[in-house]
């Protein structure tokens, strides 16, 4: 079953003369363990696609299904529960709470979902440990580097039983080494079965994905074919001169 499915999703902002078709008839399916990148220029609808996929916004038309369940038929409470339990978000500017330590930030969604604080904290520490941040668990966000902050944000997005990771330009202003580390973590999460959608205008980030879809003016206009192994790159004739 697809973890995420967008069926003919459209989103219209404004009306009459000021109407903007942010998304038009978008179909997208993401299976467990798949990493899909959505590439497109500014204003192509990338972020709108992500907020609708994450149930943070409702489509004007069409349906969003998370693990087969249509969001339009869920109550507000059920959708909020789904966001806390099944969906992890990573934003460009990290969105960590400055008054909480790294461990508390990671444990927060579990605590909000009703998990006892001690268990939530233990799960948070495990998630940080998985990302090589165990020693930073007690630090506050402003005591961490940009790369560490984003790793904490990813730990928060995958902690617990999250099935879907949604990331909006997750490497933001990080340098290329830290950006690669972030994408490697997203990629590793997918290997463990998490489905991920990463929106970006950066081809280097997108190239970590199994599939890249191209968005233009709110429509998916193209996508990559399944990627062959890299072997052919290493035996290209004519490179030995």
């Amino acid at each position: 079953m697809n973890v995420l499915e967008l069926q003919r999703v459209s989103k219209v902002y404004g009306q009459d003369a000021t109407v903007v078709n942010a998304l038009s008839g978008v179909d997208l399916s993401v299976q467990p363990g798949a990493m899909v990148a959505v590439m497109g220029p500014s204003g192509s609808g990338k972020s709108t696609l992500l907020t609708i996929a994450g149930s943070l916004e409702e489509p004007t038309e069409g349906e969003v299904l998370i693990e087969g369940a249509p969001l339009s038929r869920m109550s507000r409470n059920a959708r909020a529960r789904l966001r806390r339990r099944s969906i992890g978000y990573v934003f460009q500017d990290f969105n960590l709470l400055p008054g909480l330590t790294a461990a508390e930030n990671v444990a927060l969604p579990l605590e909000l979902d009703g998990m006892p604080a001690r268990r939530a904290r233990a799960a948070g520490l495990r998630a940080l440990d998985d990302l090589g941040l165990a020693e930073r668990a007690g630090r506050f966000p402003d005591q961490l580097s940009g790369g560490e902050r984003q790793r904490v944000a990813i730990a928060r997005a995958v902690v617990g039983e999250r099935r879907l990771l949604l990331a909006d330009e997750p490497s933001g202003a990080l340098d290329s080494v830290n950006a690669e580390a972030v994408m490697r973590l997203v990629h590793d999460a997918c290997k463990r079965g998490v489905a991920a959608v990463v929106v970006t205008h950066d081809a280097q980030l997108a190239s970590w994905a199994d599939r890249v879809v191209f968005l233009r003016d709110g429509r998916i206009v193209d996508q990559t074919a399944p990627v062959p192994g890299p072997e052919s790159l290493l035996t290209t004739p004519g490179q030995s001169q």
Binding site: M39, P41, E180, R184, H187, H201, D202, A203, Q204, A206, S207, W208, A209, V212, F214, R216, V221, D222, Q223, T224, A225, V227, P228, G229, P230, S232, L233, L234, T235, Q239, S240, Q241
Partner: protein, 195 residues
């Protein structure tokens, strides 16, 4: 890629045999430049002829040893610091295709751009696969893969910028499907594009 200078670089570490040079060349370049034995020996013979290496005088074969001469050291130091020729646009074929597409009736240039963008992203995906196994990702290979990814990324950025310019030009021109193509620039004269 200069096999000649790569061999000089390997010999600058100390004397080596022909076969050993081939294996080390491939390992140091992340194994992305396969080299046949014949190439190694032909190059070594020329280096010896030019006085840049000297052999131990034993018979031709995998066990024949070579060492770099003072002249070879000087040649290598000079080569490392000589910038490769980057004066002509290296991606002229793609640039020309897009410029030509602007002038061909019935061709949607942005669709042409997307075909190339998709191909380049797929190529980048293939290169990125090499990074997945961090444990097997040695420094030489990492540098080669990074170089390819940055190069391909730059081409995609150019396509994105072109796409943006076309969109703006179309918007400025009202309902025109495509902007009026500019006259073909004389790139050969102005920028030295190679044929």
């Amino acid at each position: 890629m200069s096999v000649r200078h790569a061999l000089l670089a390997l010999l600058s570490e100390g004397p080596k045999y022909g076969l050993q040079l081939r294996e080390e060349f491939e390992a140091r370049t992340g194994e992305v430049w396969p080299l046949n034995v014949g190439q190694v020996y032909t190059t070594l013979q020329r280096l010896e002829r030019d006085g840049l290496v000297e052999s131990d005088g034993s018979e031709e074969g995998p066990q024949k040893g070579f060492r770099i001469t003072a002249g070879g050291q000087e040649e290598l130091a000079g080569w490392l610091r000589t910038p490769p020729d980057q004066t002509s646009p290296p991606r002229d074929e793609l640039v020309m295709k897009v410029l030509v597409a602007l002038r061909v009736p019935g061709v949607e240039v942005r669709e042409v751009i997307q075909v190339h963008r998709r191909y380049l992203v797929q190529l980048m995906q293939q290169w990125t696969r090499l990074k997945e196994d961090e444990a097997e990702f040695d420094l030489g290979l990492a540098l080669v893969v990074d170089a390819e990814l940055f190069r391909l990324d730059a081409v995609i950025r150019w396509l994105d910028a072109t796409d943006g310019r076309l969109k703006r030009a179309a918007a400025d021109g009202g309902s025109a499907r495509q902007p009026v193509p500019p006259p073909m620039p004389n790139l050969r004269r102005r920028q030295g594009v190679r044929r």
